[in-house]
Symmetry: C2
Subunit: 405 residues, 2 copies
């Protein structure tokens, strides 16, 4: 048989295993609760829209051109005005195949090998691996409970400038940061814009989780506070409607939009998903999201409660005000790369901290837990099991459920 290992590229370094199903206790990934997917309403919407304008799928991009289905772009513009305070024209909106494609497009439009980007030092794993693959350097800026620290951001950019370098952009998730869950207050957003101006470095604002705040008010987007066209913005529907619906949006005016479009070489994002969302969202989006929040709050409470019960003083975390993730610090002797392996063997999957941070080795005692997908019951059972596995491997937590192990 032909041996393809002879002809692999330099980037084909990892090897996947065949899918073996989800583990019973599934605390990873951006999955959400299955019953929250509005399947019946989507079914009605898609039937209606297909009967009315399904034939336009005979053309790539239907009649709306390469930026995506115009009625959905109009919804996005209105929704961003209402929810994030942004003034956006439909011509500034590009519909993408998930927000990951938006990120890929911004990266390929702005980044060369050897460039440098500044970002939160605990971060979305996929953002970091993408920059690694592009040969782009990234400098991590520490966070506090209000998000990226502006003194540290200023220092990082000053340091680059002193070395004759300029960051290509500041990548930030200001609202319900991944993985820390922090929400940047409006004053700090204004400060980031001032620093962005001081060093003449644009901002790439990733607002994927902003619709999922279940406590406190959502601040205006950084994009909404920007008078100088320095902010590129992206968001998504997949956290609010269904992760497997791959529709995101990128917001930037021309002329940058005109540079991004030639690099979107996919012959258009999926039409059916755009059609159905354009039909469903105008009447349902706000209510649907509002309905999601108490359930997310309940799960966040369940996760915090289970951690308190089974890990006690062995964990530190900040109680989340939104989103689907909890960022957990364990005692220094717990190596979550190892914990990941032994827990998975017991049916509990977690995200090890080393993969969600710029300085992986310094964060091996941290982990990210997603509470979006498992039920409250499975959150409780999964955390109890995780505590037992962690104790068996590392001797912590010594006490759980008020009993010594």
């Amino acid at each position: 048989m032909f041996n393809f290992s002879d002809v692999l590229s330099d980037v084909a370094i990892r090897e996947a295993q065949p899918f073996a199903g989800f583990p019973p206790f599934h605390f990873v990934g951006g999955n959400i609760d299955e019953p929250t997917v509005p399947a019946d309403a989507l079914a009605n919407a898609v039937a209606t829209v297909l009967r009315e304008c399904g034939h336009t799928m005979g053309k790539y991009g239907m009649d709306s051109g390469p930026q995506g289905y115009l009625p959905l772009r109009a919804f996005v513009a209105g929704m961003l005005k209402r929810r994030a305070g942004m003034n956006v024209a439909t011509g500034d909106v590009l519909l993408t195949t998930g927000s990951l494609q938006a990120m890929d497009l911004v990266n390929s439009t702005l980044l060369n090998r050897g460039d440098v980007v500044v970002l939160e030092d605990a971060n979305y794993s996929g953002a970091l691996t993408r920059l690694d693959a592009l040969g782009v350097e990234y400098i991590g800026v520490p966070l506090d409970d209000d998000g990226m620290r502006m003194d540290a951001l200023d220092a990082a950019l000053a340091d680059l400038k002193a070395n004759g370098r300029r960051a290509k952009f500041i990548y930030t998730i200001p609202t319900v940061q991944n993985p820390t869950g922090s929400v940047m207050p409006i004053e700090r957003r204004r400060e980031m814009l001032a620093i962005s101006g001081k060093y003449n470095v644009p901002i790439f604002e990733d607002d994927c989780y902003a619709d999922l705040m279940f406590s406190g008010a959502r601040p205006p987007a950084i994009h909404a506070l920007d008078d100088e066209g320095r902010v590129i913005y992206c968001g998504t529907f997949f956290k609010t409607i269904a992760p497997a619906l791959r529709v995101g949006y990128l917001v930037t005016p021309w002329p940058l939009m005109g540079r991004i479009l030639p690099l979107k070489t996919d012959a258009g994002s999926g039409a059916l998903e755009q059609l159905v969302l354009a039909e469903y969202l105008p009447a349902h989006f706000d209510n649907h999201v509002t309905g999601l929040l108490p359930m997310l709050q309940e799960k966040a409470d369940a996760l915090c409660g289970a951690l308190d019960e089974h890990f006690g003083a062995s964990v530190e975390y900040t109680r989340p005000v939104g989103g689907i993730y909890l960022w957990v610090t364990l005692p220094e002797n717990v190596d979550t790369d190892r914990l990941y392996q032994v827990a998975l063997a017991e049916g509990v999957e977690i995200n090890p901290g080393s993969q969600w941070t710029v300085d992986g080795p310094a964060n091996r005692h941290r982990m990210r837990l997603c509470f979006g997908h498992p039920s409250v019951e499975n959150i409780r059972r999964g955390i109890a099991k995780l505590a037992q596995v962690c104790f068996d491997e590392f001797g912590v937590p010594e006490r759980g459920g008020n009993v010594a192990r």
Copy 2:
């Protein structure tokens, strides 16, 4: 305002203009006839499937893992057995976001900058621009009416070998080649496999148009004739069901599949499109395709007839047996790059030959015409207009419709 032109990457070289709608006579792209999109049947299918299993969209990849929705993979495997003679397990199938993602994945898994690929010297423009962007060299092999010439393929690989090089793969569209429409007979497919073995070079078989043969029998896929696992195969539903439905498939067994999956960093292709196709296709695919063919035949006949009428002896082409493209040779003095511009100003869009060939300058008197999308009436009117524009600019065709201009 911030000036993004200061921070663009090296690949952000082209600049798109805002979409201004399709021109009236639209002979480009892989678009199909709008009335052929089975919108009502798709509407029924999607309503059914969403009510039954829409909730599984709460998970990336639903319950089927990163290779895509298992029932659709099962359909693909059965369809490829029935229509292309291939023996494929569901575990060998990866559902992709259009066949372009399949191509991108094969490229990134196998190609490094400086590598070389061998392919048909008239080719899909997007394949060539992708290789350009990757810094990969490609060697064009001439075609005849039976597709890629095997003597020339052997010579190209021998030449590389003499220079101490080995092609990473042979890229071929053997069935209804783009843009020439040629169909490679089974004997030549066997010959290609023998040459592939002789030089130990795998084959990447792109079968995107194979379902659209309206004259003659479809030969078995090269993949079906291969005993040594040397053929990677891709196909798509977007030419048969709807271009804007972005679902393609890539077929290759493990272990190569395991190398490809980590490079598919999109968190899964669109679920809704997979669900609806899995519901619709098993009962409808063969009938739907069979129903398309007479219409494509009629349009091909209309295009050939219009060219004969208005261009007469000034054009050469091979009458198509399938697909949606005609590859047309004009007199040497006609520059289709220029013709593209003047015709577009008159509402007629064509694909200039320079973009569909390895040696662009040598093919500036050729053009690709897509007959999939325009109506028979618009084909006739558009070609009449194109002939007039061509005469005004280049003095040919001197006669058209049996009258001197």
